[in-house]
């Protein structure tokens, strides 16, 4: 049991330390922002992944992004500049503002709702506490597993 606890604690520590650490630098910002925008040429690809031959947008947009990173320290402002110039569809994912927030919330809300609905169907309150009882031979399911 001690070993089990130690391993669990170590796992938690590793996870938290990974989550708390972050990366900075212009290259990382370019990579991050370039992956948060779409190429607007109609190829339906992420800005940094557009391989559309003869694309008249992606090279220009990448240069614009490079220049904006040098001048502006706030990433949100850079994204807003692009939205003003190319429209809302330049953003590769909905924002966390206004109605767009619903896009992010819904999947998790449905997951939780589904979980609680299903638990009403199949999980009685007694099942919530974990039993310490080992499985007895008589408690086998209908078919052998």
């Amino acid at each position: 049991m001690k070993l089990f606890r130690r391993i669990s604690t170590s796992l938690l520590l590793i996870t938290f330390s990974v989550l708390l650490l972050g990366a900075t630098g212009d290259r990382a910002r370019f990579n991050d922002l370039g992956h948060r925008m779409m190429c607007v040429c109609g190829c339906n690809q992420i800005l940094l992944e557009c391989n559309h031959v003869g694309c008249t947008y992606s090279d220009r947009m990448r240069e614009q992004l490079s220049a904006a990173i040098q001048q502006e320290s706030n990433d949100e402002n850079i994204l807003q500049t692009f939205v003003k110039e190319y429209g809302t569809t330049v953003l590769a994912a909905p924002t966390m503002r206004g109605f767009d927030r619903v896009a992010w919330i819904m999947p998790f809300a449905v997951f939780l709702a589904g979980g609680s609905f299903d638990s009403q169907l199949e999980i009685p309150p007694t099942a919530v506490r974990c039993t310490r009882r080992a499985r007895s031979p008589g408690s086998l399911p209908r078919k052998g597993t």
């Binding site: 590793i14 909905p94 078919k143 052998g144």
Partner: protein
């Protein structure tokens, strides 16, 4: 031939109408005790005849393609004289009308098998056959009234056709759509059985036993179809990736996710009599999602790069979907008492609860993808402007879900049915947890930096959890193998083989899980992709990672179908020559469209993926784009493992083969002792 094809389709429509209407009448007569055997038999034979008629129509279209019959508009628009023979055959599913005819053909083939095997359970099969005839009626109505494949060209017949879309002129495209359609269409069979069982309040779980193999075969086809599509995208589209979260790709994923959930949750019903409502709705949803996917991709409701499939038939699918939903809901409300669970969960630490969570996670993933696919439409409707829901959304929502799913895949098999004790948890989890942590540490030692960005973090998580699942699977095989070795004196490997043969469903399932792990490891390599673009003149070189590409020459060739320009590159790894690569671009004459031919040097460690992006007209130098994509080969290898596991899971276990007399006993009516129960593959 066009006349013959049109007649065959009309005949098939009439036969399906007969099969549905008179099938329903025969079932009604049966229910009130009137003799209806002869009428039922005629409807079954009509169902078989549908196949003959639809196969005739399919033959007529292929014949027209092979003989360059450009009087048929479909042939004119999707083939040309110089198109190679296999692609002329593939023209059957290259466009809207042809693909619907192909769909109808596959549906009638599934129907044929179902009706020929009616002795499995005559009454239930009669219900399923009638429901399937209703589905056939819909597709045949589409083919006769809305998307007619044998429409004739108005005015003069052109001497040559427009040709096939160049992106489709690739060997995998000859087999990718059939596989995908086999998957989509196949879910109609378990759907028909489930709805039939619900309507007739069929006792027991026999409908699950009958449909389990149907569902597995269908699921396997869909899996193959999805990954063939991914491989095609990787090899042909030339953007260095295999999955772009395009609505059409997403559409194929919906039924796959719910189908996967169904394959797992039916075990709960078989073993514990639980989740009956859940299972019925899962298979209803899987079928409806197949139709919804088709509606989304053919209606133009969502914008997709697969624009060639869009038309006005979306409304037909929407109405069909609505009718299917209403019918399912009506019979569910009427007969829901029949679906009451026999047991409820006894502990959250049990195999049942892991199945339940796994199902929830799969459905959450399915909903998230569906939601993301539809959100631009919803946003435009509510906010008045469209938003893009691209890969960042899908990745951010689905990758954590996939990690949780992988965790459950590792944990689930180690939990006992009904409840698991702490002692058992400790005993079973110590080694897998140690393997997981060790893998994570080793990955960090060898250069994975999870603190640098989310992609590295998720890669580390994926590979570590993959180690957890693998350890679990190996321990399950070893533990079971040891028990058999003790009793039989066989060596461990032979014992594990015997173990697998005795319970093919369970151990085949573990092999499938291992295949998933291999795929996940391959996918996690994407975090370390590199790319570079450069103009490469004669004898100039470019460096990417350990590879050096030197341009030997660039040249052009021509044949009746296309012109091709390509570069010949000498490739060196760490200074040592490893061969030549020939990235190319084709220009198809009939369709006047370009196409990329990717050159790929694939190894288990990484792919060197090179594209000829055209020539700079100012400098006359070829533009070369190179990618290093680590671990991609693992994805394709994982699919093979997955297929192998599915095949193993479908093989009847040896205990069933050696006890033939037991198979004649109806499990729903006779309760047998545990030791002598008829063994279905998959216990």
């Amino acid at each position: 031939m066009p006349l013959f094809g049109s007649f065959a389709l009309l005949l098939a429509l009439l036969l399906s109408a007969y099969c549905m209407v008179f099938g329903a009448i025969a079932l009604r007569q049966q229910a009130i005790g009137m003799p209806s055997d002869r009428l039922a038999e005629t409807t079954r034979r009509a169902g078989i005849a549908i196949w003959v008629a639809v196969a005739g129509a399919g033959f007529a279209l292929v014949w027209a393609a092979l003989n360059n019959d450009f009087s048929v508009a479909y042939i004119l628009h999707h083939t040309n004289r110089d198109l190679p023979l296999p692609y002329k055959f593939a023209a059957l599913w290259s466009g809207q009308e042809g693909s619907l005819l192909f769909w109808a053909f596959l549906l009638s083939t599934y129907g044929l098998v179902l009706r020929l095997r009616h002795k499995v359970d005559v009454k239930l099969t009669a219900y399923a056959s009638t429901i399937l005839a209703a589905v056939q009626l819909f597709f045949l109505s589409l083919l006769n009234f809305a998307a007619r494949p044998f429409s004739l060209v108005a005015g003069n017949i052109p001497p040559d056709g427009n040709g096939l879309n160049p992106l489709l002129q690739y060997p995998e495209m000859v087999i990718h759509p059939p596989m995908l359609y086999l998957g989509y269409v196949g879910f109609a069979v378990p759907f028909a059985f489930a709805l039939g069982a619900l309507i007739m309040k069929y006792p027991g779980e026999k409908w699950i036993h009958i449909t389990r193999r149907w569902t597995m075969v269908t699921w396997c086809f869909l899996t193959c179809g999805i990954f063939l599509g991914a491989h095609w995208a990787y090899s042909v589209l030339g953007w260095g990736g295999y999955w772009g979260w395009d609505p059409v790709e997403n559409a194929s994923f919906f039924p796959w996710l719910t189908g996967t959930a169904f394959l797992h949750s039916v075990m709960m019903q078989e073993k514990r009599g639980m989740l009956k409502t859940w299972n019925v709705w899962l298979i209803f949803s899987t079928f409806m999602l197949s139709i919804l996917g088709t509606f989304l991709t053919r209606s133009g409701v969502v914008s997709s790069v697969h624009a060639f499939a869009q038309s006005s038939i979306g409304e037909w699918f929407m109405w069909f979907l609505a009718i299917v939903f209403v019918v399912c809901l009506y019979f569910y409300i009427r007969n829901r008492d029949h679906l009451r669970s026999e047991h409820r969960l006894e502990s959250l630490l049990s195999r049942e609860s892991s199945f339940l969570f796994q199902n929830l996670v799969l459905l959450a993933s399915c909903f998230a993808i569906l939601w993301g696919t539809l959100f631009p439409v919803l946003s435009e409707w509510i906010q008045g402007h469209k938003v893009t829901v691209g890969p960042p959304f899908f990745n951010r929502v689905n990758v954590p879900i996939a990690m949780f799913l992988l965790l459950l895949t590792g944990v689930g098999p180690l939990l006992a049915w009904r409840s698991t004790s702490w002692a058992s948890l400790k005993r079973n989890f110590t080694i897998p947890v140690i393997a997981t942590v060790t893998t994570a540490i080793l990955l960090m030692v060898f250069g994975v930096r999870p603190w640098q960005d989310a992609a590295h973090f998720y890669s580390l998580m994926a590979i570590s959890l993959g180690a957890l699942v693998t350890t679990t699977i190996v321990s399950e095989f070893v533990r079971g193998g040891r028990v058999i070795a003790r009793h039989t004196g066989q060596n461990l490997l032979a014992s594990m083989l015997t173990l697998t043969r005795r319970n093919t469903r369970r151990y085949g399932g573990y092999i499938v899980h291992f295949g998933v792990v291999v795929i996940v490891v391959g996918l996690s390599g994407a975090a370390f992709n590199q790319q570079k673009e450069q103009e490469l003149g004669f004898h100039e070189q470019m460096q990417i990672g350990p590879y050096t590409l030197v341009c030997d020459t660039s040249t052009e060739e021509e044949n009746p179908n296309y012109q091709i320009s390509y570069a010949i590159l000498n490739v060196y790894k760490n200074g040592k020559p490893i061969g030549q690569m020939f990235p190319a671009r084709k220009f198809f004459k009939a369709s006047q469209q370009p196409d990329t031919i990717v050159a790929n040097h694939s190894t288990p460690i990484e792919d060197l993926y090179v594209i000829y992006a055209g020539k700079n007209l100012d400098t006359d130098k070829p533009i070369i784009k190179a990618f290093i994509n680590p671990l991609v080969m693992w994805i394709w290898a994982g699919v093979w493992v997955l297929i192998f596991g599915t095949v193993v899971a479908m093989i009847p276990p040896i205990s069933a083969a050696t006890v033939p007399s037991l198979q004649q006993v109806r499990p729903s009516t006779v309760a047998l002792p545990v030791s002598s129960e008829p063994v279905e593959a998959g216990d």
